[in-house]
Each structure stands twice: as structure tokens, then as C-alpha cells.
Symmetry: C2
Subunit: 369 residues, 2 copies
């Protein structure tokens, strides 16, 4: 017997994924959470029509899903006003980002993101040996100018930008993004993560232009459509760039149930509207709860609100721990200065009631600690 030989790159990677799920926390605590407000899931649930579609297709789960996700891509094409060949469907934005990085980043290749932005993107860059440079947020927003400058300096192949962004909830208006796209260095691809775009004000998403091979945009059924547990995301952009995913994608990786549910969810504009309304209300309420406790809610174009706890990262972490101890699952930004905040996902009133009840005690205990 002898050990198998990992690649030198794999050998160098830590055997740790970037998140601990709420279920793992529950197992460690020996107690369930009373409110699940930490993962920016849509606590308002999926469209009842999507639920119906899942139930109807359940007995057909013996069939592989269509590896082309044809019907779903066709519906998305209509929805976006582009061609279906400009779209690739994958197992969530996570899965698509993996393929994106794999296609473009060889060991040592430069990539740029914001310090405190999506850890799973960073995990993929590390996983393919990329050299990642992180640019600070500016006024709690990702900083297009600094991202461009660093990309230019490092010769980056990829820039990651989320608009609206996670974890701060901030956003740029479309013209800012358009300017950024116009200023991309030669051969640099902008990965524009729009996971939360359905919650943003009109005028946040740039007009779709699939003629530009330097932009790829990512959207998902995990957030506004309430289907994080089904793994359906999509990316769109210039056709040849999108086609390159065929080189590496897990072709039978899309679940049949997920495809059917996504199709139903996309068709249910009323439910989306309902969720958007509920999210807007919940954002206001989370902001009000924050203010009642002397804290500052940050403006949000997403389905969560980051709350500035007014002190440093250690204090915000103490507040978070106290909320968790009171059975409220929330998370917080990883990097300074964002980590002075806790991040609370929108949810229905009973969940926010629990949060409102727990927060004063959490603050008091954290302050005393």
C-alpha cells in the first residue's frame, strides 16, 4: 500500500470548504435555530407553482435531466431577450464560477476581487492555483476604479464584481458598471455576479450586450426565486465565450427536478413580485429594528441588510455569537471594515419578531463582555 499522489497544487490546498452550514452549527449546538436569517435564502419560499412542478416531476426523477437544459434556456432567452446559445445553465452560480475559473485561470494567473467579497469565488481561484489580489471596499461598496487599476497592474484575466454586492448589500447604478466595462483592460473578463439583482432598484442592471466577450453575467434561482436547495444558476454573455463551458461542464449535472421547478418559477411573475414586496418590507423592518437599538442599517439592494454595530469586528462578532446563542442564525462580513456589521437576511414577521426580541439582549451581553 502507498498513498495516491495528489497534484502539487492539490497537495498545497487546505482540506476545508469556505462555509460552515447552519445545519452543522445546529448539530454543534445541539439545538435548532428558531430563525434562519444567515444565508440570504428566500425565507418566503419558492413559488407555489414551482412547488407544484417539483411534486409533479418527482416520479420522473428516474430520468436524467436534459443535459442541454433546453426548455429552461429557451425560457431564459425569452426572459432576457437574447438567444438560448448565449446562456449556460449550471448547478448554481457556485458551479458556474468553478467552470469559469477552470477555463481561464492556470497556476499563477492573476485574478482580482474585493476584500470581503464572495469567498467561494476565492476558493475556486485558489483551487486552480490563481494569484488573487483583493482590493478594499470603498464606502462599503465594491470599487470599480480600484478593481480596474489592479487588474491592469497585475494583468488579471478575471475581475469578480457582484452588483448588488454581498455581504454589504450595496450597489452601483448601471452607468457605473457600463463605464467599468468600457475600461476593462485587454483580455480581462468581468465576472458580474447578479445573484441579487431582482431586489435592486430599476437601473441597477446594465443593458444586456452579448456582443462583448469581456463580460459574463451570473444569475440564480437560489435567491429571489427561493430555490437555493435545488441548484439552478445561469450565466450569459457572448456566444463563443459561453460555448467554452462545453469544454468542461458536468453535462448531466442539472437535476430534472431543478429544471422543471426553475421553468415554473420563471413563469410565475406574480410570485416574484410578491417576494420583492415582502423583501422590501422586511428590509425596512430590519432597518427599523437596528435603529431602535441605536445601530445603523446600511442601505441594501438585496434580500438582506447589513447592520453596522458601531464598533470593531470583535464587537460585531460578539453580537453575532449572542444572536446565535439565542437561536437566530445570522452571518457577518469576513473582512474589515465590513466586519463591523452583522448581516441579517429578510424573512417573514415571525422570524423578524424573534430577531427583534433577541437583538437588545445580544447587544447588552456583547457590550458587557
Amino acid at each position: 500500500m502507498s498513498r495516491p499522489r495528489l497534484t502539487p497544487l492539490a497537495e498545497s490546498l487546505p482540506a476545508t470548504v469556505p462555509f460552515v452550514g447552519p445545519e452543522a452549527q445546529e448539530r454543534a449546538r445541539g439545538r435548532k435555530f428558531a430563525a434562519r436569517l444567515g444565508a440570504n435564502e428566500s425565507v418566503f419560499g419558492p413559488s407555489p407553482k414551482a412547488v407544484e412542478a417539483m411534486r409533479a416531476v418527482a416520479p420522473e426523477a428516474w430520468m436524467y435531466g436534459d443535459p442541454e437544459s433546453y426548455d429552461l434556456r429557451q425560457a431564459l432567452a425569452r426572459h432576457l431577450g437574447i438567444e438560448m446559445d448565449d446562456i449556460v445553465v449550471g448547478a448554481g452560480i457556485d458551479g458556474l464560477l468553478n467552470s469559469l475559473v477552470r477555463l481561464h485561470v492556470a497556476p499563477g494567473d492573476a485574478v482580482v476581487t474585493s476584500d470581503g467579497a464572495y469567498p467561494t469565488f476565492n476558493y475556486h481561484v485558489a483551487g486552480y492555483g490563481g494569484s488573487l489580489t483583493k482590493v478594499p471596499f470603498k464606502d462599503d461598496k465594491e470599487d470599480p476604479e480600484a478593481l480596474l487599476k489592479t487588474a491592469s497592474e497585475t494583468g488579471a484575466k478575471l475581475i469578480y464584481l457582484a452588483n448588488p454586492d454581498n455581504p454589504m448589500g450595496s450597489w452601483h447604478a448601471a452607468p457605473v458598471i457600463d463605464d467599468m466595462i468600457g475600461d476593462l483592460p485587454e483580455g480581462c473578463l468581468l465576472a458580474l455576479d447578479e445573484a441579487y439583482v431582482e431586489f435592486a432598484p430599476e437601473g441597477t442592471a446594465p443593458i444586456i450586450d452579448t456582443s462583448n466577450p469581456q463580460v459574463i453575467r451570473f444569475r440564480t434561482f437560489s435567491k429571489a426565486h427561493g430555490m437555493a436547495g435545488l441548484r439552478v444558476g445561469y450565466a450569459f454573455g457572448e456566444r463563443e465565450m459561453i460555448r467554452s463551458f462545453e469544454k468542461v461542464r458536468n453535462h448531466f449535472g442539472m437535476s430534472r427536478v431543478g429544471q422543471a421547478a426553475a421553468l415554473a418559477a420563471l413563469a410565475d411573475a406574480d410570485w416574484l413580485k410578491h417576494v420583492q414586496t415582502q423583501v422590501a418590507r422586511a428590509r425596512d423592518r430590519i432597518a427599523a429594528i437596528a435603529r431602535e437599538n441605536g445601530l445603523e442599517p446600511l442601505p441594501s439592494a438585496t434580500n438582506f441588510v447589513s447592520i453596522d454595530c458601531g464598533r470593531d469586528g470583535a464587537f460585531a462578532k460578539a453580537v453575532l455569537d449572542q444572536l446565535v446563542a439565542r437561536d437566530i442564525f445570522v452571518r457577518m462580513p469576513f473582512a474589515s471594515p465590513g466586519n463591523r456589521a452583522i448581516r441579517v437576511s429578510c424573512g417573514p414577521d415571525p422570524d423578524l419578531d424573534r430577531f427583534a426580541e433577541a437583538l437588545p439582549y445580544a447587544l447588552k451581553t456583547a457590550s458587557a463582555g
Copy 2:
């Protein structure tokens, strides 16, 4: 505008996945298949209890699946008589093979498989720049001796072997595999794909030994459990080797619905027994249909039967095309000499009635052509 820069490896890969799905064929034909017997799916369907579990969990699809697949791994550990940390769950064997190859194969690294074995494994090896050597089948079986010899000669990091195998349906008894494991070259890892093992005779699967870091075994809910459309597979082996998947795996990639359904399916031993019985009957019937038409069914330890059409690959392809033209979806082995056969998945009687009805005409037309 300028084109983004793929890695040299990605640049060199064709933008084609290895399979065309039956849905794509249906769209091209403009007509649905009457019998879906080409993808070795379990036409007998998932356990009614798994369907019930999918339906129950559907409204909870807004939650990400537990990224640790804790409950499922715990149940699998009990089922296999090992520890849960010896198991990794992934989006089908396809997804796990991707991670396996990624972890071990750097550009130029040697890998060995059988000529005509699973194309998706080959796709992953090519996708990571591996140097793949294919060894011929021997008497329609994968050839452990030749695989070992070639692995030794090429310094291979991985050997892929399916037992029972696809596409021939043949198998080796456990002692043959145990001997092979004992003779593995230093640092060579055997990827033992047991996707069809639930259909094989007693004594096909070697006794599980998680102390040996040179063997990783793959199983799935896509075949006997009838859940190909939900993407749940697993791999097990020596703990540290299994833990290396944490370096690269898509941690939120397991659907919540899939996890719940797999848990229910695993608990329903009666349904598995039922499917095994139905599959055994269907194998006999497919064999009888073959013989009635003067063809030779190959012995099978899977949920399909490969039928030797008695002539060359071109003839078998003509028979297949004629079956497809008669609305029977079947596939055939890719490589010679296996490609003298067509491959027919087990299904219930109405599907096999259609196959039985179409085959004589398909043979007649193919012979005349």
C-alpha cells in the same frame, strides 16, 4: 473589446460534451421516444417513499442543502458498515470523478482505462490535461491484468475500472478485484466504479476496506435507486484520501431535495428488492427477444443487456438507427469490438413489448441497407 484568455489547456479542448441526451434526439426527430431504454436509467422509477420525501421537502427548497450531507452520509455509513468520514457525497458519480481527476491529474500525468469504458471519465482526464491510455476489453470484460501492466508501464496515477462494467454489462468476481488491488503499482489509485453493483450477483463487490488509500469506490442513487434526475452519488475509501475532496468540492452543490430523497430511498429496502427482481426479469426477457431474432445477448450483471448483433460496428449502428427511427431510444458501445452490440436498458413490459416489436423490422432494414 478583446477576447478573454482561456488557459492553454482549455484552449486545446473541444467545446463538446461526450453525450447527446435523448431529449436532444427527440427535438431533432421532432418526435418523442415511445420507450426510453438507452441511458440505463431505472425505468421502474424511484421508491414511492423517495417520491413522498421529494414532495414533502419541496416547499423547503428555499434552503440550501446541508453542505456536509450529514444525515445522508450517516445513513450511508450505517449501510456500508464504515464511518461517515470515509464517505463523500457529490452530484452523481460524474461530479465526483471530476473532483477525483482534478485532485490527482496534472497536465501530462498518466491515467489508464479500458477502451470503450465510461466516456465521461475520459472527458475529465482530457479536461485536466491527463495522458490517457486505453487498454482493450478481453472477452467483453475489462482486463485487470492489462490495466495493471499499462499502469505500471506508464506510471499511472489513476486506473478506472467499472465492476460491473458499462457498456458490456460484464463483471468480475470479488477475488479478481481483490487481486488487482493487491497488485496496484506504488502510488496508483484505483477508481472502482460500482454504479451497477446492486444488480450484480452476490460476491461481485469486494469486502470494503477503508484502510487502503489506493482504492476509491463510487456508488450512486441514479441506477438501482431510480434517481438519475436528482444527482446524488457517493464515494468511499480511506479517510485522508476522502478528505482531500474538501479541497475542491462544490460544498453547496448537493440539492436539499436530492439529499432527502436519497435518505428515503436508502431506507426502502423493499423497493430496491422489487427493482432488482424486475431488472432480473427484464434482463431475461431482453435476452429472449435477442435470441428470438437470432442474436446473442451478452451476460449482464447490470440493469441493461448488450446484444451482439453478430456483425460489425456499422451493422450494429444501422440496427440502432432503425430502432431509434421506430421510437426506441437505445445506445451502443463506442469502441470495437464492443460496438458489434447494441445496449438495451431494462424496463417494464410495455417498453420491452415495443422493443420486441421493433427489433425484427430494425434488423431486416439494417440487413437490407
